[in-house]
Symmetry: C2
Subunit: 680 residues, 2 copies
Amino acid sequence: MDLKGYHMWLQYQPIKDKQYKKAIAPFLKNIRSVENSPVLSNAMEELAMGIKGMFNIEVNYNLSTEEGIVIGTTDILEKELGRDVKSSLHEESKEAFEIIKDEKKLFIIGNSVQGALYGAHHFLRSLQLKKTIDQLEIISSPKNDFRMLNQWDNFDGTVERGYSGNSIFFKNDQIVQNKSRIKDYARFLSSVGINAISINNVNVWEKETFLITKKHLAEVKKIAAIFRGYGIKLYLSINFASPMAIDQLASADPLDENVKKWWKDKAKEIYQEIPDFGGFVVKADSEHRPGPFFYNRNHADGANMLAEAVADFGGKIIWRCFVYNCLQDWRDRSTDRARAAYDHFKPLDGDFLDNVILQIKNGPMDFQVREPVSPLIGAMQSTNQLIEFQVAQEYTGQQKDLCYLIPQWKEVLSFDTYHKGEGSTIEEVVAGNIHPYKYSGIVAVSNIGDDENWTGNTLAQANLYGYGRLIWNPSLTSEQIAEEWIIQTFGEEKIVRETILDMLLKSWPTYEKYTAPLGVGWMINPGHHYGPNIDGYEYAAWGTYHFADRDGIGVDRTEKTGTGYAAQYQIENQRFFEDLDTCPENLLLFFHHLPYKYTLKSGKSIIQHIYDTHFEGYREVEELIELWNKVEAYVEETTFNNVADRLSMQLANAKEWRDQINTYFYRKSGIKDEKGRTIY
Amino acid sequence: MDLKGYHMWLQYQPIKDKQYKKAIAPFLKNIRSVENSPVLSNAMEELAMGIKGMFNIEVNYNLSTEEGIVIGTTDILEKELGRDVKSSLHEESKEAFEIIKDEKKLFIIGNSVQGALYGAHHFLRSLQLKKTIDQLEIISSPKNDFRMLNQWDNFDGTVERGYSGNSIFFKNDQIVQNKSRIKDYARFLSSVGINAISINNVNVWEKETFLITKKHLAEVKKIAAIFRGYGIKLYLSINFASPMAIDQLASADPLDENVKKWWKDKAKEIYQEIPDFGGFVVKADSEHRPGPFFYNRNHADGANMLAEAVADFGGKIIWRCFVYNCLQDWRDRSTDRARAAYDHFKPLDGDFLDNVILQIKNGPMDFQVREPVSPLIGAMQSTNQLIEFQVAQEYTGQQKDLCYLIPQWKEVLSFDTYHKGEGSTIEEVVAGNIHPYKYSGIVAVSNIGDDENWTGNTLAQANLYGYGRLIWNPSLTSEQIAEEWIIQTFGEEKIVRETILDMLLKSWPTYEKYTAPLGVGWMINPGHHYGPNIDGYEYAAWGTYHFADRDGIGVDRTEKTGTGYAAQYQIENQRFFEDLDTCPENLLLFFHHLPYKYTLKSGKSIIQHIYDTHFEGYREVEELIELWNKVEAYVEETTFNNVADRLSMQLANAKEWRDQINTYFYRKSGIKDEKGRTIY
């Protein structure tokens, strides 16, 4: 693929600054590794590719030279170097790396081969960002041990909630033969520190169930080998009813000895092929998927049975907490879907084996543009936890509309749970610093497909890049991450950097403005989840309501008068959300049912706020288009048109949102826009 | 197929009344025809089958006997009989028949072989209904020349708006090899006088386009032969862009000489295979189908070009008037979809060739449970017209909910257009008695599929039966038709007759009560059109809005203050609909936007009427269930369960409708139910 978009942020664009080139070039002529390892080979291949691209230097792989880059792991390099690198790295994560230099040499040292690979990527990124020779020295260690992606790829080649073409893993009910895109994907992921992936949809349908059988394991093994070379562990999503579907067992009861034995045998079979197989991702008892409830067992029974099967091999069970009643009667206001994950899992704290990790969506509902943080995260002190983000823009514009999500995730990570007093942020919880989790970290739904530019909208690449960078180092700011990504992707031209940075940072607030107001969510088209449909979920079975009537809108989730959801938080947060004076206004209608005439801190009524933000949101999309037009001369034509086309779709979408939301609430409230703008 | 449901109303159930059997039996021992014809052979086969079933008599085909049934056509039988049957039949339609008897013989005489076949069916029906020997004598002539069905069957085997399984004509992109169901379908249709059918969907997709090519014509010919044997002419729906799709012509412009020639050649090719081929059904320039508009031609240009191609062979072009802007902006209140057919076609009156027939849906929108009659019907005095009904219950419960549609069609037929003064009813218009149409009549979308009982819900068979019976003789009452159908289908047990009659007659009013109120329509789930979705079409591109706000609801279609649609009627009807005092209340919101507090003639406000009818509608479905349970002992178990299952689905559907409609309007109006019933 020669299109720039295909190479995402690994463009390795020629560096034009002669002085910089002159200063760095002497270090780039030779690369050597003191060890043999597929991961280090890939690291050296990447270094050679990057150096060729940026400096037009063909590197030598010269083992004896006294000038150049030396790459390897701490233990072996220490001996080789005859100097002490131990002090600075050995206390760090196994995946940490250090870059140090002497007059003629640069050492890229990892606590493991994976660490060294991350070091190589960091080094290349630093060159593209034109860090000075002194700035290259660094020690870096990932904040989170689990840095994972879930592909929602189906065996027929479709991608659930995919907005970038079809699967790069599956086609026509087979694993793809040509795996070159998988290798490139692994390169991109390793460059931002991703170390685990599950390649099939968490909804495991009939054919996907057989991924863990002889029929497909030989091909799965090949994919595992590709990812292994980039420090990424392979996981598979499994069907909890596999023993029945694959081998016609009478049951999938997790306490049934035959079922237990089946899974033990199955684990053995998989680990014989893939000794470092990560384990299973499980969506059970959720949205009609089978699970332990069917046998009157609980989630711990289900997860532990699987955990025992993989324990001897070092495997993990990643058990999703997205469990709720998806056949709710909309008439029933006593059930609150937001409560479901906490109600289901909190009572089981301590019951899970230590190679089980719960995977919890960032919010209590489902990846809305605005939700509070899930109260379950950090609420289980004896149960491993992962937080789940969604890089795929399911509810946030589907990679047509621009929505840079790093600010959203940063807000989530900075939320203070108070589980061990002030400072118990989500960031520290999932890093394992609040409770002594054996395993924890962050996972997200990927946003890629087989579109030439991987992500549909080229600017959506920033979310994948940023996801990896953020979870390695959550202290990076949204701006830093965006700037890194822009320079690597589009070059260092000032107008390009400033303009695209401006667009990215504005995009989430803009999207929020023209869609569902004040945190209420769900006013979206059912099924495909793009575009407005204010009552689309109002009479549905999914537990997703806004309760708008002629007087007001919102869901009362207080303990005092509502569903009691707010009481799932620590008392500090409960008070914070329940009190109208402190409840963040962008979540006001998530926690409270309020009249349209209720006055916000801005002095505006809710209804006027709705009108104003929707007119503003549309206007801001027009501004995004104006901004993008400014960079036309600096951006490859294909990419320019790709984004321009998407922005025009976004404008049409914002118009529908603006007019439908405003019309709906005007018709319902009868309250006119103070500014007399057109409402239909 | 041995299931009773399969045989629909041609059960030929044993007659138990010994006296009746004794009186009739002597006439039933022999059948003879004085002519050879496939149609008469089928008539005799049917007579033999029916007589065997009802009387357990194996008939003889005895040409010389002096006792029995003689069947034939007027001209030939006259000679044979040596008596004058001329006087009574020759003035009637070519399809008319007469049954006369002398002491030992019954004569079934048609003005054509088709007429004789209808006579045979009438005779068998009369026996099943236990008409006395004297009552058997009759002269019957169809009121309408065109009595047609449209199948909306796709080549892949699906049926658009089909609720009874898959196609009996197509499967896996082929015409079915085993055509036994097609033959049985032809039997059923001929038994109620249907004389024309189009077998493929009016939306002609890629593969269906090739039905008129060598690839498929040999198989089409076989189907035509089956139908020919039952007096039914075969039509095909065609793709207006066929010349481009099939033979890569550069255009489908109806005034292009190459295009004209292509269609002439094509017609010749088809008529070589099927000399009595009916002609083409065309949906053009409608819902994204190609048509003359693309070439800046009008519908007359398009239809006439095709009409010229088939004229020499006696072919007809049936041109659908379901043409409207399906990409309307919901913000635009100046466009009214209800106006579209009249606005498009009325100005073209006189421009169409005389083998073109316009096919006009009964209402101006699309087969809603309640619509006014289309103002286009009868408004074109020099253009042939067919009215189109929908036997398939697209918007009327999809053959889950019970909805006996004959009363709806009778209301339509009895509507007085005033086009030639009082008495210019739709019935007389489409019979060709108001304007001198060369061809006219009635067409409907069929409701059958490959379900064992043909129609999904066994009780939906009554709509297919009734459609045929009604359009042959519109003076039959809904009750008469229902009773005929019930006795033939379920037998003559009093409780069965009375109970099912009661159910059928109540069903349309009940369905109307729990769905969209007062004629406003469209509060249904978009796409599949089952179940409530009050705002489902409110912000859509289909031109289907109710404009409900906190104060009122409805579409102002008056000339004075609204879209002017009402002025498309003759002045008598315009005044009738525009005046709130005379406008039928069941169409009130179709023509007027009114406050919820507006008082109806009942003394109730609109909002209270909505609440009351929706509670009543649900209650009436419970009553339908109670009624059905009364006949359990008398109805075959499979059929009983079939209907019972559907009724329970209907109850769930009625509950959703009741609660969503009531809740929606309560939340919007804020007006409480006077009776304090539960609204959510």
